[in-house]
C-alpha cells in the first residue's frame, strides 16, 4: 500500500505492506533510527513520536494509519542547526544517561510544553508516565522538562546551545 506522510516537515511516500508498524516505517523505510524500540508491547514509550502534534507510541500504529498525517521524530527537533530548548535542557540537566528513552521523553515534553510551558512537578510526572526510563530515576528528566519550559517561555534569556 502507498503511504504518504510529512515527516519532520518533508513529504515522504513509500509502498509498504499493510502490516508494517509505524515504528518500522520510520526506522527501516525512512531510515530515521533515533526512534527506538524498547519493548514491542506499548509499555515503554521508547518509540514515541508526534502524530499531528500528539504523542503516540509508534509500535502501536500501522504505518498506513499515518497516511496523510504529520509526524515529528527526534530528528525533527533541531531547528536551523540549533538544538531545540528541550534538547538543550536534557543535555544540560543530565536528563539522560544511556539515552535510549530520551527521544520519546523529549517528544512527550514537546507536546506538554506547547500546551503548558510552566508545568508543575505533578503535571510533568503525569505527562511522562507512559514512558519508562531505566537509568535516571526520572528526577533529572523532570528538571530538564521544566528548564526547557522556562527557556521556551523566555527565549531571549535562553542561550540556545549550538547543535
Amino acid at each position: 500500500m502507498r503511504v504518504t506522510v510529512t515527516i519532520n516537515g518533508v513529504e515522504r511516500t513509500a509502498d509498504v505492506e499493510p502490516r508494517l508498524l509505524l515504528v518500522h516505517l520510520i526506522r527501516e523505510v525512512f531510515e530515521l533510527t533515533g526512534t527506538h524500540i524498547g519493548c514491542d508491547t506499548t509499555s515503554c514509550g521508547a518509540c514515541t513520536v508526534l502524530l499531528d502534534g500528539m504523542p503516540v507510541k509508534s509500535c502501536t500504529l500501522f504505518g498506513v494509519q499515518a497516511d496523510g498525517h504529520e509526524i515529528t521524530t527526534v530528528e525533527g527537533l533541531v531547528q536551523g542547526g540549533q538544538l531545540h530548548p528541550i534538547q538543550a535542557a536534557f543535555k544540560e540537566e543530565h536528563g539522560l544517561q544511556c539515552g535510549y528513552c530520551t527521544p520519546g521523553m523529549m517528544l512527550v515534553a514537546k507536546a506538554l510544553l506547547e500546551r503548558n510551558p510552566t508545568p508543575s512537578d505533578e503535571e510533568v510526572r503525569w505527562a511522562i508516565s507512559g514512558n519508562i526510563c531505566r537509568c535516571t530515576g526520572y528526577v533529572n528528566i523532570v528538571k530538564a522538562i521544566q528548564a526547557a519550559g522556562n527557556a521556551m517561555a523566555a527565549p531571549t534569556a535562553s542561550a540556545a546551545a549550538s547543535a
Binding site: 538543550a88 544511556c98 526510563c133
Partner: protein, 796 residues
C-alpha cells in the same frame, strides 16, 4: 577578571560538566546496537530450548535450510572451534548439543534476508527432545539425590568465612530468614550487534557490551580464530546494569557472518532479551545475630544460598561478595558465614548492579531492626554504635584502610527533613494515593512508615584479580587550539564514564577540548564497566597517560623555549612558577602521545578459613525511605527517599546524583514490584506488560546527599558510585513497609498479599547443610574447566 573567567578551562574534575555524549543522544544520532546497518546485511535469529532440562535426540534443519531467503542454519556441529565459553569458566555451550539445561538456551541459529524470514526459518527447525527431570529449587539442588547438571555436581562455589570464635556466646540473639526474588536488569536497549566478515578471514563485531576484551577472549576460540582476527568496536549501549557482562549474540552473529560471508545483524526483541541475559540471583538467607545487652555486636552466623541457574556466569564472584558483606558494615568480632552458589535448571544468573550486596543488605538490615527492637535501642543508634570505620577489621580479617564515612552517611540520611504529613484522604487527589492511577481506593487504611538501611560494597574486582585499564592520550594542535584525544576500551553504558575521562583529561592538561576515540580492541583491555570500577580505573589510566604527556610537554618547554623553574599547566598555558610562560599550542608542532595502564592495589584470594585482603576498597551508603501503605488493599506508595552516598570525591556531582536516583529506582523495583516469575524453570513474565519496572508515578522524589571523604592513594580520592543506592534502597523501602504495617515481610518484592496478610512470611524448615567441597575455589576450578576472565587479567 572577565577575560580570565572566559579563558578558564571548564568541565574539570569536581564540576557537573555536561555529558560528552549529550548532543548525539538528544539529536537521535547516537547509534545503538539495534540501529546498525550494512549493505547486503543478513539478519540472524535464534532457536531456544522450551524445556528447562531435556536430552536432544535429533535436530532436523532441512526444512529451515530450504526456506526462502535462508542463507545458513547452524547447530553445535557447525561451531568450528571450542564449543564452550563462559565469563569465569567455559561451561556454557555456544549452541546446545546432547542436553539443554535451561528454558531459553540457544540450540540453533539462522541467517536470512529479513528478520521475518529468519524467524520463520527458526520455526521450521525440528528438535526432538526427551524431557528430563529438572532441578528448579536451589535447596533441592543441594540434595545428593537431585539430578546433576554438571559432572562436578550442582555446587558451583561454597565460601566459608570463620572469624574470631564462631562459637562465641552473646547475651541477646535474633534470628531471621530472608528471601529475595530474581530481578531483571531490563536495560531499555535490547541486546544487538553486527558482525562483518573481513578479508583476512577474521571478523569485525560492533556490539553493545560491557567489556570488549573479555568478549573477544570468549569469542575467538569458539570461531577457531586467533584473537587478533576478532576485532570489536563498541556500539551504543542502551543501559546495561550487569546484563551485558555475559555474551549474548556475539558468537552467534560471528559464526553466521563467517559462514555466509555476509554481514549479519542480530537484534533481540524484549522477550528474547529476557531469555538471553543473566539475571540478579534469587537468594535465601538464614541469619542469627548476637549482641551484648548494650547493643554491641558479638557474633553473626549466616547461611546464604543463591541460585546460579544452569551455567556459572559470574556466580562464583557474586557469592564471594555476598558472603564477605553478609555481616553488614559493622564491627563484628566473631562470625561464621557460609555462602553457596548452586546450579539449577533455572535461567542463568550473574551480574546485576550491586552484585550480591543488595541481597545480604536486605537480610543484615532487617536483623539490625530486629535486634534494636529486642534491645529497646533506637535502630539508627544501634547502627552508629557498631558502624565500621577506618581501621576496623571485617569478618575476612581485612582491615578497612581507606575512607569509611559510615557515620556520616547514616547521619545525613537520618537528619534530612521528613516529608510533610499528607492531607486527610478526602482532601487528596486520588492520584497521590497508593494505587494512584488505578483509582482503587479513597485513602481508607492509610499508614505511613519509615525505614532505614546501611550497606557497603567493594569497588573494582576482588580476590586477587588484576582488572587493569589501559588508556592512550594524545595532545595535538587543532585549528581552535590544542585538543586532547582520549582512547580507551572502557564502555560507556550511560552512567557518564566517558564524561569522567574528559574531565580528568581537562584537569590534568589544562585543555578544554577533548575528543573521545570509539572504544575498541585496538588498545589493551580496559576491564569491565561494572563493580563501580571505571571512575577509579579509567580515571587512573587517563591520569597516568596525561602525566606522561605533560612531562613531554614540559621537556619541550624547557628545551625549546628555555623556561625554567617549577612548571604547571592551566587554561591552555604552560606556567613557570605560576606565571604564563608559553602557550601549549606553540609546543605541539608534532602531537604528544602516551599509553599507560592503571592497576589497582593487589588483593589476595580467600584462604581456607575465608580470610584475606580480598577487596580493593569499600564504598558505603545509607538511605531513609518513607512509604505510605494502604493496609486494606496492600498497596504501597514510596513517598520519599533520602540517599546518602560515599563518593570519596564526586568527579561530577550531577552524575553522582543521577546514579543515586537511578539506582534507587532499581532498588525500589525489587522492593515492591520486580520479580521474574518462574513456572517449573520457565520465565512466565518475559515482557514489560508482565514484568513491571518503576514508572515516574512509582518513583518518589529522591534527595541525594554526597559525602566526600577522599579515598587515599587513588586518583582524586574518588570511589565509583554506580551501585551504592541499589544496595540499600530495597532494604530501606521494605523496612518502611514493615514499620507501616507491623508485618514481618521477609521476602522482596513485597506483594499486596504480603501486606494484607493473605500470604504468610517466607519460611524455611532448617538451615541447609554445607556441601562437601575441596576448598574456597569454585568447583569447576577443581575439575579443570577452562578459566574465563581471570586468565585475561592474569596473563597481561
Amino acid at each position: 577578571m572577565s577575560t580570565q573567567l572566559r579563558e578558564r578551562v571548564r568541565g574539570v574534575v569536581g564540576e557537573s560538566a555536561p555529558r560528552i555524549d549529550g548532543v548525539p543522544k538528544v539529536k537521535g544520532t547516537f547509534a545503538y546496537g539495534s540501529d546498525l546497518w550494512h549493505e547486503r546485511m543478513l539478519w540472524g535469529a535464534t532457536l531456544r530450548s522450551p524445556h528447562p532440562h531435556a536430552r536432544i535426540r535429533r535436530i532436523e534443519v532441512g526444512d529451515a535450510v530450504a526456506a526462502p531467503g535462508v542463507h545458513a542454519v547452524l547447530t553445535a556441529d557447525d561451531v568450528p572451534g571450542k564449543k564452550l565459553y563462559g565469563l569465569e569458566f567455559a561451561d556454557t555451550p555456544v549452541l546446545a548439543w546432547d542436553r539443554v539445561l535451561y528454558a531459553g538456551q540457544p540450540v540453533a541459529i539462522v541467517a536470512a534476508e529479513t528478520p521475518e524470514l529468519a524467524r520463520r526459518a527458526v520455526a521450521r527447525i525440528v528438535v526432538e527432545y526427551e524431557v528430563l527431570p529438572a532441578v528448579t529449587d536451589m535447596e533441592r539442588a543441594l540434595d545428593p539425590a537431585a539430578p546433576k547438571l554438571h559432572e562436578w555436581g550442582n555446587v558451583l562455589r561454597h565460601v566459608r568465612i570463620e572469624h574470631g570464635d564462631p562459637d562465641a556466646e552473646a547475651e541477646v540473639w535474633v534470628e531471621g530468614y530472608y528471601e529475595t526474588a530474581m530481578q531483571d536488569q531490563a536495560p531499555l536497549g535490547p541486546e544487538a550487534g553486527l558482525a562483518i566478515p573481513a578479508e583476512d578471514g577474521g571478523v569485525d563485531l560492533i556490539v553493545s557490551t560491557q567489556w570488549l576484551h573479555v568478549d573477544r577472549q570468549q569469542i575467538a576460540p569458539c570461531l577457531g580464530l586467533p584473537e587478533e582476527k576478532v576485532r570489536l568496536t563498541l556500539a551504543g549501549v542502551g543501559g546495561a546494569f550487569g546484563s551485558r557482562e555475559d555474551l549474548h549474540m556475539q558468537i552467534h552473529a560471528c559464526l553466521l557472518a563467517l559462514y555466509t560471508n555476509r554481514p549479519v545483524k542480530m537484534s533481540y526483541d524484549r522477550r528474547e532479551s529476557f531469555l538471553a541475559h543473566v539475571h540478579r540471583h534469587p537468594s535465601r538467607i538464614w541469619m542469627r545475630t548476637g549482641a551484648s545487652r548494650e547493643g554491641k555486636l558479638v557474633n553473626v552466623r549466616a547461611r546464604l544460598l543463591i541460585d546460579g541457574g544452569a551455567f556459572a556466569s559470574s556466580s562464583p564472584a557474586v557469592i564471594g561478595n555476598a558472603t564477605t558483606f553478609a555481616a553488614g558494615p559493622y564491627e563484628v568480632p566473631n562470625a561464621l558465614i557460609e555462602g553457596t552458589a548452586v546450579y539449577t535448571n533455572n535461567p542463568p544468573c550473574g551480574a546485576m548492579r550491586g552484585f550480591g550486596a543488595p541481597q545480604v543488605c536486605f537480610a543484615h538490615e532487617a536483623q539490625m531492626d530486629r535486634l534494636a527492637r529486642e534491645l529497646g535501642i533506637d535502630p539508627i543508634e544501634l547502627r552508629l554504635m557498631n558502624a565500621v570505620h577506618t581501621g576496623s577489621v571485617l569478618p575476612t580479617g581485612q582491615v578497612v584502610r581507606g575512607s569509611a564515612p559510615v557515620r556520616e552517611v547514616i547521619e545525613l540520611a537520618r537528619s534530612a527533613s521528613l516529608p510533610p504529613e499528607p492531607e486527610p484522604p478526602p482532601m487528596r487527589h486520588p492520584m497521590t494515593l497508593p494505587g494512584g492511577a488505578g483509582n482503587v481506593g479513597r485513602g481508607e487504611g492509610l499508614r505511613r512508615g519509615v525505614g532505614f538501611a546501611v550497606g557497603y560494597k567493594n569497588i573494582a574486582y576482588s580476590e586477587g584479580f588484576d582488572d587493569f585499564h589501559q588508556a592512550r592520550v594524545t595532545l595535538a594542535a587543532g585549528p581552535g587550539g590544542p585538543v586532547v584525544e582520549v582512547h580507551s576500551a572502557g564502555v560507556e553504558c550511560g552512567q557518564g564514564f566517558s564524561t569522567v575521562l574528559a574531565q580528568v583529561a581537562r584537569t590534568e592538561l589544562g585543555v578544554d577540548r577533548v575528543t573521545l576515540h570509539a572504544a575498541d580492541t585496538q588498545l589493551d583491555s580496559a576491564g569491565s564497566t561494572s563493580a563501580s570500577r571505571q571512575t577509579l580505573m579509567g580515571g587512573g589510566a587517563v591520569q597516568l597517560a596525561c602525566a606522561a604527556v605533560r612531562q613531554e610537554l614540559f621537556d619541550r618547554a624547557r628545551s625549546r623555549v628555555g623556561v625554567t623553574g617549577a612548571l604547571s599547566l592551566a587554561d591552555g598555558w604552560v606556567l613557570a612558577e605560576g606565571v604564563r610562560a608559553v602557550e601549549i599550542a606553540d609546543l605541539l608542532e608534532t602531537p604528544i602521545t602516551a599509553t599507560r595502564t592503571f592497576h589497582h592495589r593487589r588483593t589476595t584470594p580467600l584462604d581456607e578459613r575465608g580470610q584475606g585482603d580480598v577487596h580493593v576498597m569499600f564504598a558505603f551508603a545509607a538511605q531513609r525511605a518513607v512509604v505510605e501503605v494502604d493496609v486494606e488493599l496492600g498497596l504501597v506508595r514510596v513517598v520519599q527517599v533520602v540517599s546518602a552516598i560515599d563518593a570519596g570525591r564526586a568527579i561530577n556531582p550531577q552524575a553522582v546524583e543521577g546514579q543515586s536516583e537511578g539506582g534507587t529506582a532499581q532498588g525500589l523495583g525489587l522492593a515492591v514490584m520486580e520479580e521474574l516469575q518462574l513456572r517449573d524453570g520457565v520465565i512466565a513474565n518475559a515482557s514489560f506488560t508482565d514484568y513491571l519496572i518503576p514508572t515516574i508515578l512509582d518513583m518518589p522524589p529522591v534527595r541525594t546527599e554526597i559525602v566526600e571523604v577522599p579515598e587515599p592513594d587513588v586518583p582524586f580520592g574518588a570511589k565509583g558510585v554506580g551501585e551504592h543506592a541499589t544496595i540499600v534502597s530495597t532494604a530501606a523501602i521494605v523496612a518502611a513497609i514493615r514499620d507501616a504495617t507491623g508485618r514481618e515481610l521477609n521476602r522482596a518484592p513485597v506483594r499486596p498479599d504480603d501486606v494484607v496478610g493473605l500470604r504468610l512470611p517466607a519460611s524455611s524448615a532448617s538451615w541447609p547443610p554445607a556441601p562437601d567441597v575441596p576448598g574456597q575455589e569454585p568447583l569447576p576450578a577443581y575439575h579443570g574447566v577452562a578459566r574465563g576472565q581471570s586468565a585475561l587479567t592474569q596473563s597481561s
